[in-house]
Amino acid sequence: MFSSAQLHLAKVFLKIFFRNRQSIFFSMLFPLIFTGVFFFSGGAADPIKLGLVNLSQSSIANSFSELVIAEPSFKVTKGSLSILREELINGDQTAIIVVPENFSVTGDAGELNLILDASQVRQASSIEETLKNSLLSIEREVRGIKPMFNLVVEDVQARPQRYVDFLLPGILAYMLMNLCIAGSGFNIVEYRRRGILKRLFVTPIQPKDFIVAIILSRMVIVLTQISVMLGLAIIILDINIVGGLPSLYGMIIFGTFIFLCIGFFLGSLAKTQEAIQPIVALTSFPQLILSGVFFPISSMTEWLQPVAHSLPLSVVVSGLRGIANDGMSLLSINYTTMGVVIWMMISFFVAIKYFVWKEVAN
C-alpha cells in the first residue's frame, strides 16, 4: 500500500518530531488547559443572589420569607429597599423581591415586585423562570395546596446535555485543524525556504510520496495529541462518546487528512514564512466562528448557514458531534459524511496539484 520510501520518510519525520522536546511539551499543554478550565468551572450553577424586602408584618408574609430563604437555588439577603437597591446597581445582588405591606393569602392575588437590572442580568429571562417556579412552589406550600401534576421529563435519546459535551467535538475538530495546518503548512514553507525540498527534488521522489509520508507521520502525532485530550475529557470531564470510539477515531483520521492537505496547499501558496501566518489565520479564524464550534450553525443568520455548513471545519465538527453526541456511526450515509468525502478529495487534489518544491524566497 505504501512504498518503502514513503514509510521510511514518515519514520524520519516522526523521529524529528519526537526529538524536539519543546514541541512535545507545548502540544500537550493545550489539552491540559482545556480540560482544566472545564473541570474547575464545572459543577452546579451558582445560587441566584436575591435581596428580600419584607414590608408586611403578616404571618403569611413571614412564612413566605422563611421559605424563600430556605430555597436552595437562592442566596438571600434581607434588608431595606434602599440599601439592597444600591447593591443591585453595584452588581452585588441579581434581583430584589419586595413583599408589599398588604400581602395576604386571602382575597385578590398579592403583588410581588421583582426588581432587577436587565443590563447586568444577561440571562434575565432564565432567572425569571427559575424565580417563578420556586415562588410558585413556595406559594403552594404556604397555601397548603398539592400540585396538580408533576412534570416528568424523559429523554428518549439519553444524550448528553451539558455544554461541554456539545463543545468537546467542536474543540477537538478545531484543535485538529490547527495541529494539522501547522504540521504541514508551516513545515513545508520552512523546508522550502531552507532548500531542503529542492535537495529532495533532485532525487527520484515524487510530490505524492512526500505528501503521503508527512500525512502518515502527522497522523501518528495528531492522533497521539488528540488521544491525550480525549482521554482527559473522558476521565476527568466524564464525557460520553455515544457513537463509540472507533467511529470517532475514523472521523478524526478523515479530518486529519483534510486539514493536512489544506495545510500543504496553504504552504504552497505562501512564498515566505511571514506570509504563511496571515494566510493560515485567514483560513482558520473565520472557520472557528462559522463552523459551529461554540454554538450551533442553525442559530446563525439564515443566508449564512449554507456557506457555514459547507466549510471543511463544519463538516468535521458535525461529523464528530454526530458521533459523540447523537450516537451516529461513521458509516451512516448523510450530508456530513458526503461533505467529509468531498473535502477529502478536494483537499488532496489541490495539495498535489499546487505542490511547489523549489521556489525559494529571496
Binding site: 520510501a5 521510511h8 524520519v12 523521529k15 524536539n20 532548500g195 529542492k198 533532485v202 532525487t203 523549489k358
Partner: protein, 249 residues
C-alpha cells in the same frame, strides 16, 4: 545537449523574457570531468538545473546516458547525483540517518558508514550537519550525492568558501571518484581548480558558450604567452608550507 534555452521574465521588465541560457549545445563524454566556467549570472547554475531536471527546458533538448531529460526526468534522477550550492538538511538527524534517508529516496538500502569513509567523515557519523565545518559539509553533501552510485555527478561550486587544505582534499576526492569511472560536471569560479581538475572546460557568458576545449588548448589558443618561469611559488604555497597540508576539520 542541443540548443538548450531557459528564459525568465526580465527583472526590469517582467513582460519581456530574457534567456538566461540562450541556445547552448555541448557534449560531455563519459568518464570525463567537465567544467562550466563563467561570471556570475552567465547561466551556469541554470544549465545545471535543467540537466538535473530541476528546471523545465524551455527549448532544445538534453539527453543523459540516452535518456531524454524532459521526458524521463525520474529515470534521469535515478542515475545522477547532485550537489547543490546551498545544502541544508532536516533538523535533529545525524549524518548516518540522513544518508540512510537519501538512500531510501532512491529505494536503496545503503551502507552509510562506507559512504562516510569514502569522504573521510567516518568519525563524524553521529554528528549533525550543522556541527560540521565548511569543508566537512561539502564532503558530506557529496556523500549524499553518491548514495545511488550515480553515473553522472553534478557539483555546483564545490570548493567555494573552503580553506586551501579542505579545497585540495576535495580535489583529491573528485579525482578519485572520476578515476572510478564517474562522469563529473562541475561549475567553479576557481580557475586553478578548473585547470587542475577538468578534462574539458566550457566558458559561458550571457547565456552562451563562448569557448570550449581542454584547458591546455584553451590556454594555447587564448593565452599563448607563456607565463614567466616562476622563480617561486605563490602565496597559497606559502600558506600550505606554513600550515601544512593536513586537513583541519
Amino acid at each position: 545537449m542541443q540548443n538548450l534555452v531557459k528564459s525568465y521574465p526580465h527583472p526590469e521588465n517582467p513582460k519581456q523574457l530574457f534567456n538566461a541560457v540562450d541556445g547552448i549545445s555541448f557534449n560531455i563524454k563519459a568518464e570525463e570531468i567537465y567544467g562550466l566556467l563563467g561570471p556570475n549570472g552567465a547561466g551556469k547554475t541554470s544549465t545545471l538545473e535543467m540537466l538535473e531536471g530541476m528546471n523545465d527546458i524551455d527549448a532544445g533538448s538534453a539527453t543523459i546516458a540516452g535518456l531524454d531529460v524532459s521526458k524521463n526526468s525520474y529515470e534521469v534522477k535515478k542515475i545522477i547525483g547532485v550537489q547543490l550550492q546551498a545544502n541544508e538538511y532536516f533538523d535533529r538527524l545525524n549524518l548516518l540517518e540522513l544518508l540512510v534517508l537519501f538512500g531510501k529516496l532512491y529505494m536503496q538500502d545503503i551502507d552509510p558508514l562506507k559512504l562516510l569513509k569514502g569522504v573521510n567523515l567516518e568519525d563524524k557519523a553521529n554528528a549533525k550537519p550543522e556541527e560540521l565545518s565548511g569543508g566537512q559539509k561539502q564532503r558530506f553533501s557529496i556523500a549524499c550525492a553518491l548514495v545511488n552510485d550515480p553515473k553522472v555527478l553534478f557539483l555546483d561550486e564545490p570548493t567555494t568558501g573552503l580553506d586551501p587544505q579542505a579545497k585540495r582534499n576535495l580535489w583529491q576526492l573528485i579525482k578519485e571518484l572520476n578515476s572510478g569511472g564517474m562522469t563529473i560536471v562541475l561549475t567553479t569560479h576557481n580557475m586553478e581548480e578548473a585547470e587542475y581538475l577538468c578534462n574539458r572546460i566550457a566558458i559561458m557568458d550571457e547565456g552562451r558558450i563562448i569557448a570550449e576545449d581542454t584547458p591546455e588548448n584553451l590556454i594555447l589558443k587564448y593565452a599563448p604567452e607563456p607565463p614567466q618561469a616562476a622563480l617561486h611559488g605563490n602565496i597559497e604555497d606559502v600558506f600550505l608550507a606554513l600550515t601544512g597540508h593536513e586537513l583541519r576539520d
